[in-house]
């Protein structure tokens, strides 16, 4: 199954060029500013005729398939802040919006501190995609099925935004507002995604279901993050994020609350599963029916929670 592939029926054979289909992009301007202020000014000036280019794995495909129509691409990869990737055991992790997936999983300290995040970034496409695709782009593209967003939600990430009105912050679960839409206002761009430092006895896990082993869009995705007590028998805090079961990736507060309500047991985890199933409002499409997704979200939340608990106990 191809990623958002559309049959090339509408394309004309292009005889002038050495490539087969006339699916080249229409004219567009490109600029690569060096500061956030310049980028924000350009976005503000052009409004919805301009968009950011990070790794291009969504935007280039969308422009080529004429699913988006723009006059200007603003490449942010020359701006220091969006390339920042810093981890401090006390302060947490800052992921610059344009940092590609591979930089995250190749960093040993980050891999050790945030295994749930590593689950998610290692699932995005193949190695070629991971060389370019950023977590920030995955979030800003606002696909309901984006793999990294449910995990960011479970890990309580905060979005740092720059714009003509100055900087602001948003909890990641409020960032996506509809398929392809975000809370960003005219002239605004995402600068970084910050994760709090992992707490003692904490663990996280992300998994998704796809019909093949690699390279596909999640039919459903689920991320769980838990903090256990000193004896590792009770959950002190838990957050569950799910993807592809609603117009946006969702935080399921009731699922997290269910897990902190007594000693950990299968019955307790089942309550979280029921809460996730109740929160899911999936649609039916080529990847699965709504009913199938409702079933799957339960299975995945259960496994994600079990995986997160297992990791918390291993530490």
């Amino acid at each position: 199954m191809l990623w958002l592939a559309e049959p090339p029926l509408g394309h004309k054979l292009n005889k002038a060029k050495t490539h087969l289909w006339d699916d080249s992009m229409k004219d567009i301007d490109y600029t690569a500013p060096r500061t956030l202020a310049e980028a924000a000014a350009l976005l503000n000036d052009k409004g919805d005729r301009a968009r950011i280019l990070a790794g291009g794995t969504d935007i280039i495909v969308q422009l080529r398939e004429h699913r988006r129509d723009l006059d200007l691409l603003v490449d942010v990869k020359n701006i220091a802040e969006v390339n920042e990737l810093t981890f401090d055991p006390a302060r947490g992790l800052r992921i610059g919006a344009a940092v590609p997936c591979y930089r995250i999983y190749e960093n040993k300290d980050i891999a050790k501190a945030y295994p749930g995040l590593i689950d998610a970034v290692s699932l995005v496409g193949g190695v070629q995609i991971q060389s370019r695709a950023s977590v920030g782009g995955n979030l800003c593209n606002a696909s309901p099925a984006a793999d990294t967003t449910p995990m960011l939600i479970a890990l309580e990430a905060t979005c740092h935004i720059a714009g003509p009105q100055g900087p602001r912050q948003l909890p990641v679960e409020t960032f996506c507002t509809a398929p392809g839409r975000t809370a960003l206002e005219r002239g605004e761009l995402l600068v970084s995604i910050d994760l709090p430092a992992p707490k003692p006895h904490s663990g996280a896990h992300y998994l998704r279901f796809i019909p093949r082993n690699e390279m596909d869009i999640a039919v459903v995705g689920a991320g769980a993050s838990v903090v256990l007590d000193d004896k590792k028998q009770k959950c002190l805090a838990a957050r569950i994020g799910v993807g592809a079961v609603a117009p946006t990736p969702l935080l399921v507060p009731d699922a997290g609350a269910a897990l902190v309500d007594g000693a950990l047991s299968d019955a307790l985890i089942d309550k979280a599963v029921q809460a996730a199933r109740a929160a899911a409002k999936p649609i039916s499409d080529m990847r699965g029916t709504a009913e199938y997704r409702k079933h799957l979200v339960g299975v995945l939340v259960k496994r994600a929670v079990q995986g997160a608990i297992h990791r918390a106990r291993e530490k």
Binding site: H19, M25, I60, L73, Q128, I129
Partner: protein, 160 residues
């Protein structure tokens, strides 16, 4: 038409200047402007890997990179692999194992396999298969490709 941009980069070790429109992909630049037609267009949307090249030492789909983005950067393509002394071991092993039929996917597979071997000189069969998941082949059924890569890394192939 949008003005063409002058881009200076290093391609296969050679300082290379080209003119391109911002809408052109690196793949289009390589094939249409520089006539380096070794990199292939399979899908033009990131799924097949036929266009794989190295950009500053990382494997990328050149159909998902803009030509203007490679200013000041290093690009390596399939054309840079063989030397006057002979084929790259991967190219040689692809021939010996008959790892290609139509050959459209081959440059991408070889670039991807080379990226793997640069990082992991002795990969396991599982590592090879996992790494090559972003490369599609319509003809061979993959087995001969995996054998060629294992052989080029000096690793035993699984029994047929």
């Amino acid at each position: 038409m949008t003005k063409k941009v002058h881009v200076q980069s290093t391609i296969n070790g050679k300082a290379t200047d080209f003119l391109c429109e911002p809408r052109q992909s690196l793949l289009e630049v390589l094939r249409d402007e520089l006539r380096l037609t070794g990199s292939k267009e399979g899908c033009n949307n990131g799924n097949c890997g036929a266009c794989n090249v190295m950009l500053d030492g990382r494997l990328v789909n050149s159909c998902l990179v803009l030509g203007v983005e490679v200013a000041g950067r290093k690009v390596e393509t399939i054309e840079g692999l063989a030397t006057p002394q002979g084929l790259h071991p991967l190219q040689q092993k692809f021939l010996e194992h008959a790892s290609l039929q139509c050959g459209i996917c081959t440059p991408g597979f070889i670039m991807a396999a080379k990226a793997l071997m640069d990082k992991t000189p002795k990969p396991s069969e599982g590592e090879v298969r996992h790494w090559l998941a972003g490369n599609l082949c319509r003809c061979t059924g993959y087995d001969k490709i995996v054998r060629a890569v294992l052989d080029a890394s000096g690793c035993p192939s699984p029994p047929a």
